[in-house]
Amino acid sequence: MSALNNSSTSTDQNDPNKDKSKTPKSKDMHLPISRVRTIMKSTPDIENIGLPSLHVVTKATELFIQKLAQDALKGQRHYRHLEYNDLARAVEENENMYFLRDTKNEGSI
């Protein structure tokens, strides 16, 4: 998976000829792709992961975090603070986040 290394080291940033506004790729990715891959690999029965799909999962996860954080903020009771309970409530209120329910109940640490 040498191609993986090539894409995650942002060569776009080093290339002065590239128009930066047109390449939103690696600069916009905050999560380490290698770690995402490690997590994906621990899924049972998984065989190979295409590089584009790895990027999609990474970005989807980032968007998910943002969605969860925003939903948690909507009902927040402690002014200017985002607390664990806010997140737990957001999970309860969103049907598509039910897969997180057991995780939340286990406690934060």
Binding site: V36, P52, S53, F99
Partner: protein, 126 residues
């Protein structure tokens, strides 16, 4: 591959940065909330990967494609995420194509060698 539990965790600082991008600047995120977000993200990855694997397997494919992932997201009611991801895919494909285009080899090496040999021949003649 993930032998240790910590390998399944995502860096909390990165997660926090991502969340803060969409939160007002004055919001303080508690430590427990940060940890919970990171764990939620890991579980999300596992959840989507599982779904995508099922889809790929049902089509007798051994490799998960981006399309499998997008379909998995649709199946788990995360259609709202699909549109920006499709945009990402387009950018990814076009960047990959650009890289391929700039990698064309220069064909001049053989002629240089020929020039050197010609010079040597000239010297001998003199």
């Amino acid at each position: 591959m993930a032998e240790r539990l910590e390998d399944l965790n995502l860096p909390v600082t990165a997660i926090t940065r991502i969340a803060k991008e969409v939160l007002p600047a004055n919001i303080i995120v508690s430590k427990e909330a940060k940890t919970a977000l990171a764990r939620a993200a890991s579980v999300f990855i596992l959840y989507v990967s599982n779904q995508a694997t099922t889809i790929a397997t049902s089509r007798n494919k051994k490799t998960i494609s981006a399309q499998d992932v997008l379909e998995a997201l649709s199946q788990v009611d995360f259609e709202c995420l699909i549109e920006p991801l499709q945009q990402l895919l387009e950018d990814f494909k076009s960047t990959k194509q650009q890289k391929k285009d700039t990698k064309k080899p220069t064909p001049n090496k053989n002629t240089d060698d020929a020039d050197v040999i010609d010079l040597v021949d000239d010297d001998l003649e003199l």
